[in-house]
């Protein structure tokens, strides 16, 4: 069979030929599409730096074989903002100083977007910490990260309510 996949990446559909079945979504994004926001930290699903959304769900791109995801919708940190307008999670990370070196930040933000979408943690800091435990931060910005996720959860809920009204 031909090794090709069709993926919608950051709202743009693309057909991609692969010369090797071993390519993960992470390597596809970083090495072949020049989308280097998702980071390769451990490459083993332990650090969360590669977190992206696949069909709206947060996953570790390093453990996802590209060939297993034909037809999937991929959202990376590069596709999160709307033009110049930051996503509420991005804005909250800045407001709460939720990073230092920034290496884990794209994964943290995509994981937070996924977590908020799951709707289980709400604004409970302990549930947020538990829900974000798949993302390591070696600088130790966890306090700011938790505060940012809680605030983004609140602002996104308020926006959704305004839209519904």
């Amino acid at each position: 069979m031909s090794l090709s996949v069709t993926l919608t990446i950051n709202h743009v559909a693309r057909r991609i030929e692969l010369d090797d079945p071993r390519v993960t979504l992470l390597d596809l994004l970083r090495e072949r599409l020049d989308l280097t926001g998702a980071k390769k930290g451990c490459d083993r699903g332990q650090c969360g730096a590669c977190t992206i959304l696949v069909d709206g769900r947060r996953v570790n791109a390093c453990l996802a074989l590209a060939l297993s995801h034909d037809g999937a919708e991929i959202l990376t940190i590069e596709g999160l903002a709307e033009g110049e307008a930051l996503h509420p999670v991005q804005a909250a990370f800045i407001a709460h100083d939720a990073f230092q070196c920034g290496f884990c930040t794209p994964g943290q933000i995509m994981s937070a977007v996924g977590l908020i979408g799951e709707g289980e943690a709400g604004e409970d800091p302990e549930r947020v910490r538990e829900g974000m435990s798949g993302n390591l931060c070696r600088c130790g910005a966890y306090r700011g990260i938790t505060e940012a996720v809680v605030e983004a959860t609140r602002t996104m809920a308020a926006t959704a309510q305004e839209k519904a009204a």
């Binding site: 069979m1 769900r57 570790n60 060939l67 996924g114 289980e120 302990e126 910490r129």
Partner: protein
């Protein structure tokens, strides 16, 4: 990672026939397999990709009151299914205590059963490991082995099975549905994983080419919903495998235990159901003395395989804690830290 041929079957029959070729491996989410391929521990020549198979991703209520869970159902989807978590809360709690949000969104029910041990010597191709390379020896014996097995181990292998999910499943009598070259069959989960003996490389009863297609829980398993918990001790608060875990489920009638289920995780090469302890609980009042006795019975055969004698007493205490929490009643909502012994407990710190 080694090179491999990639096969994408469209039906279970095509998958089984493709995987009958020696050197084949099934690929579901790949959260464990791809990881092992990256470090050279797994080197399949052919990957048979299950991600395009229809019909293995449903959670079905069965007419007899049981439930069938397709092998490709994702951990997160099962744990968040309202009907499932209401009827099988200890299973949902175990799922939510495992891995991370990202991995639970990927990992599948079938893959969870078949995940490999996290023994560091198994994962290091420079070490001797009878499970990875039969006959090469076991560097865990006499090595760093404080987290290794205390039940059912052999001189050939002291590794543990890492699953949380399987622990309440085995307690509740789950059955594994299998498709294969010789046709379909089913096996109780309690008989699915094999103890190491002299052949630790044989981890389950699956024959080459056989595929787990679904899991079933019987109707009676839902009868424990009011008193069912999973407790898991980890070396950090979240996102870690169990040092020791326990699933406990009780049916309490007129102040007495009418039926009991107890299983342990992190202690053996399979999820460890403690049937003698269950039998001892029946008819007893759900109190500390009964739970203490059950925990003693559950660990009666345990013996250290290295620097892990502490796990035997720890397992007794975690079993007691799980029984005590189960007796107190399944909470309306799971605690913020599912299965954590550090979640608030009424009446004191220690079970």
């Amino acid at each position: 990672m080694n090179r491999f041929d990639y096969i994408r079957p469209g039906t279970v029959a095509e998958a089984v026939s493709a995987a009958a070729v020696p050197g084949s491996a099934y690929l579901a989410a790949g959260t464990n397999l791809l990881d092992l391929m990256k470090i050279g521990v797994a080197r399949p020549e052919r990957l048979v990709d299950l991600n395009y198979l229809p019909g293995l991703d449903a959670i079905e209520a069965l007419p007899d009151g049981g439930v069938r869970i397709g092998a490709r159902v994702r951990n997160a989807d099962l744990a968040q299914d309202p009907g499932f978590r209401r009827r099988f809360p200890a299973v949902a709690e175990a799922l939510l205590s495992g891995a991370s949000g990202q991995l639970r969104n990927m990992a599948t029910v079938g893959g969870n059963l078949l995940q490999r041990t996290r023994c560091p010597y198994f994962q290091d191709t420079a070490s001797a490991c009878n499970r990875r390379a039969p006959g090469s020896g076991c560097d865990a014996r006499g090595g760093e082995n404080r987290l290794h097995a205390v039940l059912g181990w052999s001189e050939a292998c002291i590794a543990t099975h890492p699953s949380d999910f399987c622990v309440p499943l085995v307690a509740l009598g789950a059955v594994v549905e299998i498709a294969g070259p010789a046709g379909p069959r089913e096996v109780p989960l309690a008989d699915f994983h094999l103890l190491p003996g002299a052949t630790p490389e044989r981890e389950s009863v699956l024959a080459p080419g056989e595929l787990v297609t679904a899991l079933r829980l019987p109707a009676e398993a839902a009868g424990f919903a009011a008193h069912a918990r999973y407790v898991k001790l980890r070396e950090r608060t979240s996102y870690a495998f169990a040092v020791v875990s326990a699933a406990a489920a009780l049916r309490i009638e007129d102040g007495r235990i009418a039926a009991a289920r107890l299983a342990l995780g992190g202690v053996a090469a399979k999820p460890w159901r403690a049937e003698a302890a269950e039998a001892a609980l029946v008819g007893a009042a759900p109190d500390a003395a009964a739970f203490q006795q059950a925990a003693e019975i559950a660990l009666a055969e345990a013996r250290p395989s290295g620097d892990n004698a502490f796990k035997i007493e720890l397992a007794r205490r975690i079993a007691r804690r799980a029984l005590r929490l189960a007796a107190a009643g399944t909470p309306e909502r799971l605690p913020a830290l599912p299965a954590s012994p550090f979640a608030p407990l009424s009446g004191g710190l220690h079970g």
